[in-house]
């Protein structure tokens, strides 16, 4: 675009400065805090603290809930993506708006409203009581956290899946039918494999925020259910042990990076 690469670099410099101040420096600080103790001596104790039972429990629970939420998001998003892709022209605008609309509202507000809905004397139970139906206890359980995650992260699964479905030429589907495949065979052998890239990016975009969230678990899980995100948050905001908090963050980051490498590799294999 620019004939002079120097000029292009000059124009890009604000972004370099931005990346330096807001990404690289904080990352360096996390690493610094993570691998030192109060006295400034280098140690791996903070990172190794993940092996402590209460931390390990929080990490495993976070992984479990993130996996469950991701699977539920996928199962909801795929059929919806197919409906959206099929109606490219007509009702797409309305359906998209319905799913995008909540995103215009603040994330915390949305999660807060789920508190009101799910509370023991909240909207849902009030409704059930009115019809003399047994009430449900959801708030402050892992289920409530999963509901909150699915609700908040579903659009991030729908969009990439919808995009990859919409890209499939209708005649490719027709070709599979033409060659003798029934609807199920066409889906399993053609549609699903062709949308693998969309599924991968959808899974990434749901799994990572679900794994690291602490706001949803704080609001809907009460103080009893601790995810790894909550543990880290509390180290920073309650116990003021920045070293331990950073050490655990580094472990979580390594986890995410491994996750992304695996996904990138599977994407690459798909291309070959």
């Amino acid at each position: 675009m620019f004939k002079d690469p120097k000029r292009a670099h000059a124009l890009a410099s604000p972004y370099f400065v931005w990346a330096l101040i807001f990404i690289l420096v904080p990352l360096g600080m996390i690493l610094w805090y993570g691998f030192t103790d109060d006295a400034g001596a280098v140690t791996i104790r903070n990172a190794a603290a993940i092996a402590q039972p209460e931390h390990l429990k929080a990490l495993l629970l976070a992984i479990e809930l993130a996996v469950i939420s991701t699977v539920i998001c996928f199962l909801l998003a795929y059929p919806l993506g197919m409906i959206l892709a099929k109606n490219k022209m007509s009702s797409q605008g309305i359906i998209t708006t319905i799913f995008i609309l909540p995103m215009w509202m603040n994330f915390l507000l949305r999660t807060f409203s789920w508190m009101t809905l799910l509370e023991n004397h909240g909207v849902i139970n009030g409704f059930l009581e009115k019809f003399h139906l047994p009430t449900v206890h959801v708030i402050n359980t892992p289920s409530a956290i999963v509901i909150g995650m699915v609700y908040n992260f579903l659009p991030f699964m729908i969009m990439p899946i919808y995009n990859s479905l919409a890209k499939i030429d209708n005649n490719v589907i027709n070709a599979a039918r033409d060659l003798g495949a029934n609807a199920v065979q066409t889906f399993l052998r053609v549609t699903l494999p062709l949308t693998v890239p969309g599924i991968i990016s959808g899974v990434t975009m749901v799994f990572i925020p679900a794994l690291t969230t602490f706001a949803i678990s704080t609001m809907l899980g009460g103080s009893k259910i601790l995810l790894i995100g909550n543990v880290i948050e509390q180290e920073f905001t309650l116990t003021y042990d920045w070293h331990l908090g950073s050490g655990l963050s580094v472990v979580l980051m390594i986890f995410i990076v491994i996750n992304m490498i695996v996904q990138a590799l599977s994407e690459k294999n798909d291309e070959l």
């Binding site: 005649n171 070709a175 033409d178 003798g180 495949a181 062709l194 070959l272």
Partner: protein, 359 residues
């Protein structure tokens, strides 16, 4: 004539209240190369999709080999389609693409392997088994699409503008390739195109369509030499279409001058349209022909010169290997058998049947 294979029986089809096919009836015989030819929106692709099972007609029946298949799903039909823009499975290599239909039918591995190499040989792409579709050129992808279809041994191969995305030279090569394939396979080809040259080159039988109606069907020679109406004449090749009057049998008055012709049965002093192909217009020395005129334009086209000649108040399109520079005073003459007389549409309705207004 070969046995009747497909019979489209009074087919109607509309989208969003717009009639695409209006009472279309068509019989296709075994081992024919049939081309559905027409401008975009004429209903030719819809007709093909109805035969393939991707569309259901609103009314009418599709008879295949004596059986009513109107409601049969595409995967149950004994025919295969080569789609526009190839529609290959981009996540599979060439061998898997070709094997797709055979694997669905649970054929043995050995059978599939033999079929793949046979099909690749047939389309001249030996050794491409493990390439991915994206690494092939458009022409090669199209050959794979054909190979993928024919390994299933269909009775009919449907081709939906398969050469549309290829460049001219490749398109011409592929035309010969398709004729060869058709001969080797000995099956029926139904080909959809808007390219009249493609249709004339390859077909045994051409069906010219416009606005959901069949305008004319017949051999390429019949369609070219004896167009039944102005639409067909105009759509197939260049032509001079002129309002004229049939004086009596075998005599027609064109632009005030009487020409002997070979057509009969139009009546006496009846308004008609005549079609004269540009290569059939003879330019002769002033005084030796029928209508005096002046050459207004000349373009060299390679095989011939294309000239515009003002004569009798009409701009004649003339193709000739002999050059007559602009400004040359000439006479126009036409041999009786080169004048094709057509009924002139009398009403708006007939107009909709495909007769163009002005040429």
């Amino acid at each position: 004539m070969e046995k009747e294979l497909i019979n489209l029986d009074h087919i109607y089809k509309s989208y969003d209240g717009q009639l695409i096919l209006d009472d279309l009836s068509l019989v296709i015989h075994e081992n024919e190369f049939v081309t559905l030819l027409g401008p975009s929106g004429c209903g030719k692709t819809t007709t093909l999709r109805i035969i393939g099972g991707f569309e259901t007609p609103d009314k009418g029946r599709v008879i295949f080999d004596g059986q009513d298949i109107t409601a049969l799903a595409p995967n149950k039909r004994q025919l295969n389609t080569v789609f526009q823009k190839y529609a290959l499975f981009t996540h599979m290599d060439i061998a898997d693409n070709i094997a797709f239909g055979l694997r669905i039918k649970n054929k043995s591995d050995q059978y599939i392997k033999d079929k793949i190499s046979y099909a690749l040989k047939l389309v001249n792409l030996d050794g491409y088994e493990h390439r991915m579709p994206d690494s092939l050129s458009g022409g090669q992808q199209q050959r794979i699409a054909i190979a993928r279809a024919i390994v299933n041994e269909p009775k009919v191969l449907l081709l939906d503008e398969p050469l549309g995305a290829l460049d001219l030279k490749l398109r011409q090569d592929m035309q010969y390739e398709l004729i060869r394939l058709k001969r080797e396979l000995g099956i029926t080809f139904i080909y959809v195109t808007h390219d009249q040259e493609e249709a004339l080159t390859m077909s045994d039988h051409i069906v010219v369509m416009n606005q959901g109606y069949i305008q004319q069907e017949g051999t390429p020679e019949a369609i070219y030499n004896e167009p039944e109406n102005a639409f067909v004449a105009d759509f197939i090749g260049d032509s001079n279409i002129i309002s004229a009057t049939m004086v009596k049998d075998e005599l027609v008055r064109i632009l005030g001058t009487e020409f002997p012709c070979v057509d009969k049965g139009f009546g006496v002093e009846k308004p008609v349209d005549v079609v004269i192909r540009p290569e059939d217009v003879k330019l002769v020395k002033r005084g030796e022909g029928k209508i005096p005129g002046v050459v207004s334009h000349i373009i060299f086209k390679g095989v011939h010169y294309e000239m515009e000649v003002q004569a009798g108040g009409f701009e004649w399109l003339v193709h000739s290997t002999k050059e007559s520079p602009a400004g040359t005073e000439v006479d126009i003459d036409v041999d009786p058998f080169d004048i094709q007389v057509m009924n002139r549409p009398a009403s708006e309705d007939e107009q909709a049947l495909g007769v163009v207004d002005d040429v």
